[in-house]
């Protein structure tokens, strides 16, 4: 059983690595600090976040996505064809993102995350996963003024994300994750999402995963369990009914189970996390199971985010022995 984080991690920590990123970004916007100075701050915080995950005892880390304002714009900004528009709500959270607007055919002109990934890899003693938006979520969260049809847009994004994933694997990422929270949004096109995901993961020389979170999967669970990736991420906190439904499902893939609520500060007792792990252990061998918070930890204040990671590790350790 492997303990891991899902993606983002608090960018500020009043009781830890501080809030200097806020000031650095404000000053950078006013051109009072240089790109290089801002980059140094990003690297400092990334290193601190990696250290913190290691000290807490996670097995598979993320870089905390310290540079990311949200899941989609950091990619959209680096591709040709997109403009970044006004604020929109991020799924069912009181958190906002800027909507990418596709103006002409999208094009990847070079690697996007490779340098960041290499830096994180150098900081860490443990393996670091790479996280990308899934093609379907990317399309659902964007405005399409070019294709004016979901399918060609999703398939093109899948190709682009695949090229990035292939490069990330070459750069040493042992685990590449595609986030598809849009599969929990109203009326998902599951078929298209899985078709695009298969393209995104094709030929990637690393373990591949799809993560879903924020709500129930409705009819998407069964097809999702057959997705052409190695690991399927499920949020059983936002959708507790999934646990019962998994009992009736044929599971051939590895599973990553979100078993703590990364959207509420209430700290789960370790025993509650152990109960979920034990329920999963009845259905899948421990060496095919990942456990993590149900989504990225950035919705939480730093203290609670760290406490949740520590409890996850404690629960997993207790269940291993």
């Amino acid at each position: 059983m492997i303990t891991t984080a899902v993606g983002n991690y608090p960018k500020v920590a009043e009781g830890g690595y501080g809030t200097k990123l806020i000031g650095a970004l404000t000053k950078w916007q006013k051109q009072e600090v240089t790109d290089a100075q801002l980059e140094a701050t990003f690297q400092d915080i990334t290193a601190a976040v990696i250290r913190e995950q290691e000290e807490a005892g996670l097995d598979l880390l993320t870089d905390g996505q310290i540079r990311w304002e949200d899941l989609v714009t950091p990619i959209a900004k680096r591709l040709e064809g997109f403009e970044i528009n006004g604020l929109e709500r991020w799924f069912n959270n009181n958190v906002y993102y800027r909507r990418p607007v596709l103006q002409r055919a999208p094009k990847r002109t070079g690697p996007i995350l490779i340098e960041e990934y290499r830096f994180a890899g150098r900081c860490a003693k443990k393996p670091v996963k790479a996280v990308l938006p899934g093609p379907y979520t990317f399309v659902r969260m964007s405005e399409d003024r070019h294709y004016k049809a979901q399918r060609p847009f999703a398939l093109k994004m899948a190709e682009i994300l695949n090229a990035e994933a292939v490069d990330l694997a070459r750069a040493g990422a042992p685990f590449i994750q595609f986030d598809e929270p849009a599969l929990t949004a109203p009326k998902p096109d599951v078929k298209l999402a899985l078709e695009a995901l298969a393209i995104a993961a094709k030929g990637v020389k690393a373990k591949t995963a799809v993560y879903t979170y924020f709500g129930s999967l409705n009819g998407a669970l069964e097809p999702l369990l057959r997705a052409k990736v190695d690991v399927i991420g499920l949020d059983v906190v936002s959708a507790p009914a999934l646990l019962a439904r998994l009992k009736r499902s044929k599971i051939t893939k590895e599973l990553a189970i979100g078993c703590l609520d990364a959207r509420n500060t209430k700290l789960e007792p370790v025993s509650a996390v152990r109960t979920i792990i034990r329920a999963m252990a009845k259905q899948i061998p421990a060496d095919r199971l990942y456990v993590n918070p149900n989504c990225g930890l950035e919705f939480l204040p730093h203290t609670q985010a760290l406490a949740k990671v520590q409890r996850l590790v404690e629960a997993a350790r207790a269940e291993r022995t």
Binding site: V12, T19, T26, R89, N93, N94, P186, T265, K266, P301
Partner: protein, 320 residues
């Protein structure tokens, strides 16, 4: 008919914004800050009167965030460390850490202060229970529903106190209502607990998000008036109401609060006339899309001026 009003918040003048940040650092004491908040409230009441606004607001010069303000004054809430809202913007999100109580009235004294400055009605301004729940962490109540209903109880007490003090209009804002369509019924139930039996005119302002999901349920919101943003989506929302007899009053947002640009009066007049093809004149209240607090005081005044002038122009044309 076509009475003019505003949604709630108005920008804080420079001197107050400065004093608030000094107060946070302990450089200005509570009494001095309060005096400046009163001064700013006085100025805004006077400005609204001079502009000719019909139903006034106190401008919320003493509030920061619309949820945090109530959380700070209710029992049971704590404040979190910083969490990010978007971009490089962070805030302290309230945590429901214990049973929610209202030790004393929260907004009544400010409402009285504003009302005694004017003969025009001043709206009582509250944040709705569903929004307070959705924008807080919940560590105490077993479910989102239980937390929402507990908040409804104390907001109800506040609404009753405002009514007793003489408020003729009570607005209970629910901008979060469109976040989770599956919880719309809960939001309606909670709002109903707040407004039940009130004799004051009740209003709710909502930011509609996915309008197709919540649109059909609007008529079931337990208030007399629903206030919506029409301007920032170019009045396309009118299409939804076309051909239906909407059984409530409608607060018609006619100027965009997110743009610096002040709409030309004749553009707003034209849009009001479009609205009159869908709603009856006595059904319509005219206001900006949302609270104006993110604009500069001067921009806010100019936007309100356009609201009043456009409404007046259309009113006169209707009467002649």
């Amino acid at each position: 008919m076509l009475l003019t009003t505003s949604v709630g918040s108005l920008p804080k003048p420079e001197y107050l914004a400065t004093a608030r940040s000094q107060a946070r650092k302990g450089e200005v004491d509570a009494k001095a800050l309060r005096a400046l908040e009163e001064q700013a409230t006085r100025e805004w009441i006077q400005t609204q009167e001079q502009l000719g606004v019909d139903i006034l607001v106190d401008g919320e010069q003493y509030r920061g965030d619309m949820v945090a303000y109530f959380a700070e004054h209710l029992g049971g809430f704590q404040t979190s460390e910083l969490v990010r809202s978007y971009g490089n913007r962070y805030y302290r999100k309230p945590i429901i850490a214990g049973r929610i109580t209202r030790p004393r009235p929260i907004t009544v004294e400010w409402w009285r202060f504003a009302q005694q400055l004017t003969t025009r009605p001043v709206k009582g301004m509250l944040t709705g229970p569903y929004t307070i729940m959705d924008w807080s962490f919940n560590e105490h109540y077993p479910s989102r529903r239980a937390a929402t209903l507990a908040i409804a109880k104390v907001i109800r007490e506040e609404a009753k106190d405002l009514e007793r003090a003489g408020a003729q209009y009570i607005q209970v804002d629910e901008p979060a209502i469109s976040t989770r369509p599956e919880e719309m019924e809960l939001a309606i139930e909670a709002l109903g607990l707040v407004t039940r039996g009130l004799k004051a005119k009740t209003i709710t302002h909502i930011c509609y998000g996915d309008f197709h999901t919540i649109g059909p349920k609007l008529r079931r919101l337990p208030v007399d008036q629903i206030d919506l943003e029409f301007a920032n989506r170019d009045f396309e929302l009118l299409e939804f109401f076309k051909g239906k007899r909407f059984p409530k009053e409608i607060g018609l947002g006619v100027v965009d609060v997110h743009s610096h640009q002040v709409e030309p009066t004749d553009e707003v007049v034209a849009n009001l006339k479009r609205a009159l093809k869908v709603f009856k004149p006595e059904q319509i209240y005219v206001d900006p899309d949302c609270g104006l607090k993110t604009r500069s005081p001067q921009e806010a005044i100019e936007k309100l001026k356009v609201v009043v002038e456009a409404a007046r122009t259309v009113r006169e044309q209707l009467l002649n």
